[in-house]
Symmetry: C2
Subunit: 374 residues, 2 copies
């Protein structure tokens, strides 16, 4: 036997290995995709530009990148076979349940290991197209034709609503997609990399990632932020509402993140976007809940400084661009497909099966099985 | 900043935490489910008994356990809604692709977090029933009615073939299912636990696990063992064939396992079962390939002792019970649903989000984005 191995429940502070994709600087509140700070990207970059950056490893010569953008437009068209597969998913399911099946049905031998850039672009392009079609059909509305003249974000809104969004809404959603496109080794990306590490296919990996993102401890809670804001109702009720919720031992949604010991830089950007685009009374309500929540949580645990996470003002932004709350986490997934594809490519480029050890704490070996009755 | 954290590509020797389910004693070649050695279980236990052991934490009073067995029989019936969902998956897909979609379509709010024993039994019961129905329909054959008088293993064979298997075949498959029911923190179980750690649902977690199992570096290779045996053809060709394959830098399937530094105890049991049930000429061929492969690999890397893994004689056993090779990995998944359910329950019982760190090796922050063209 060698030395006792490193132990960490939840793998906190365990380093899985190297990654050249995203730098999450939790101590200082920085987030960088391949050397580009998100504060640089949010005002300037298109989502297509960020897809190029994440998948290809360097900034495109111009943004949007013409070749990649055209390929995304081409790949977001649903051919007859894909449409038939998509129509096999029963209507009316919660959208994330539907997305898991839609992506799974998109799979097949064309996705076999190793993952490729083309597969990655297919994942990025098809995910919003399949989701939007499903949501339309579930609502009893006809599917909307793709608009090749629209960028990725604007077209997604168009596919959902049947009309081209205002430039302000399209750009706000695009900035949301840029901000959520990757976040290093979070639980969904980690699940994806484990699946790729077995040399399984990209769809199996993306479906695993989506399943992880679905959990409220990862990406599944932003709709609850909107519910919470509705519950508070008015800014002057925020302090009382927060105190009552904490007294009932309820969780406040949108507060705290394991990786950041200071402001989540995405939350800072999203608050700025929300201030621009949200209804002023809704923004004022959100800000009152933020202040009341931070103050109350700080008072309870003065040693643990808590900050807003990406879900809080993310929810306010998604409301403001016109998305219903059941599409908040699915839209997070739409954004994250770019990061998932990049991590799949990186994992496969120097692959090694990922499996940790566990410490066995069950009964000692040597027990005797009861008489067999069959 | 604190001390540099522990690093391990592939997380080898990193301990995720405690588990009271399965002891994999890699140094000594032992495998124990909750204190019962598999050498004790294989001759005595039914699969239902092992499901009870894994999910409930202790051996049943009698085996098969009557309440649990009856519940599995009840849950393996496919109601109209489930049948309709299953029929939505296009026929003719590779069975693992189909299984991913079948399980995903089985999901829905009834599976919401936290996982329960009833959900676990539902997963164990429905997985073979859905798979067998799909395989029958894909082959253009009518689905077979469930046989409540048959145990889990025998009924699975009956659902696939339309006739009750011989007791020898049923028991050999049951022993295979017992041997494969769990194996600690392998890649599929790890992916499942990550998904559960986000408080996502058991179906999302099982679908993630299935995606990982699909990879040839985990569970996706046993059919290649049969292909390899076919390629060798006769025992006296084994040595020449192995040498030629290694000269072509091809991998030999069924050799080596990360966890074991000695005989994989499952491989020992499976070889014994294969000797009993397989056609003697097939068994002789397999044994000749085993000897030739181990000798050749030993010669190349004398320091790394290589042993047969579960896939090698597992493939010979599954052939002998009459399963076509495209069902080898799906049948591995059928066995492993019990372990997945047990690990989901254990993860949820003391849950903590699982996400490791990575070391960023990309470009330094501060790069400037090209001019935006849109």
């Amino acid at each position: 036997m060698t030395d006792p191995p490193a132990t960490s429940k939840g793998l906190e502070h365990v380093v899985l290995g190297d990654s050249a994709i995203t730098l999450v600087a939790g101590e200082t509140g920085g987030l960088t995709y391949r050397g580009f700070d998100i504060d640089e990207l949010v005002p300037s970059a298109t989502y297509e530009g960020v897809v190029s950056l994440l998948l290809d490893g360097s900034a495109p010569a111009v943004d949007p990148p013409s070749e990649l953008s055209a390929e995304l437009v081409r790949r977001r068209q649903l051919d007859d076979r894909t449409t038939r597969l998509a129509d096999a998913v029963p209507l009316g399911l919660p959208p994330l349940e539907a997305m898991r099946s839609l992506l799974s049905l998109l799979g097949g031998p064309a996705w076999d290991y190793p993952p490729t850039r083309a597969q990655g672009l297919e994942l990025v392009a098809k995910t919003p197209a399949l989701l939007a079609r499903y949501v339309r059909c579930s609502a009893g509305k006809p599917p909307v034709a793709d608009r090749p003249d629209l960028g990725h974000a604007a077209n997604y809104l168009s596919l959902l609503t049947g009309e081209a969004p205002t430039p302000e809404r399209a750009r706000a959603l695009e900035q949301y997609l840029v901000l959520l496109a990757d976040h290093g080794m979070n639980a969904s990306t980690f699940a994806l990399r484990i699946v790729v590490s077995t040399q399984s296919d990209l769809i199996s990996a993306a479906v695993a990632a989506l399943g992880a993102l679905k959990g409220p401890a990862h990406g599944g809670a932003p709709a609850r932020v909107s519910d919470m804001l509705d519950g508070v109702g008015t800014p002057d009720n925020a302090e009382r509402w927060v105190a009552a919720a904490l007294a009932r031992k309820e969780r406040l949604y949108g507060f705290g993140h394991r990786a950041y010991k200071t402001d989540d830089p995405r939350a800072v950007q999203l608050k700025r976007i929300a201030r621009t685009i949200a209804d002023p009374s809704r923004f004022a309500l959100a800000e009152a809940v933020e202040h009341a929540g931070v103050a109350a949580l700080q008072k309870r645990r003065p040693e643990a400084r808590l900050f807003m996470n990406v879900e809080f003002y993310g929810a306010v932004v998604l409301e403001a661009v016109g998305l219903p709350r059941e599409l908040f986490t699915p839209t997070f997934a739409v954004a994250r497909t770019a990061g998932w594809a990049a991590h799949a490519l990186e994992q496969a480029s120097d692959n090694r099966l990922i499996r940790p050890d566990v410490r066995y704490t069950g009964p000692a070996p040597g027990r005797k099985w009861p008489t067999k009755a069959r």
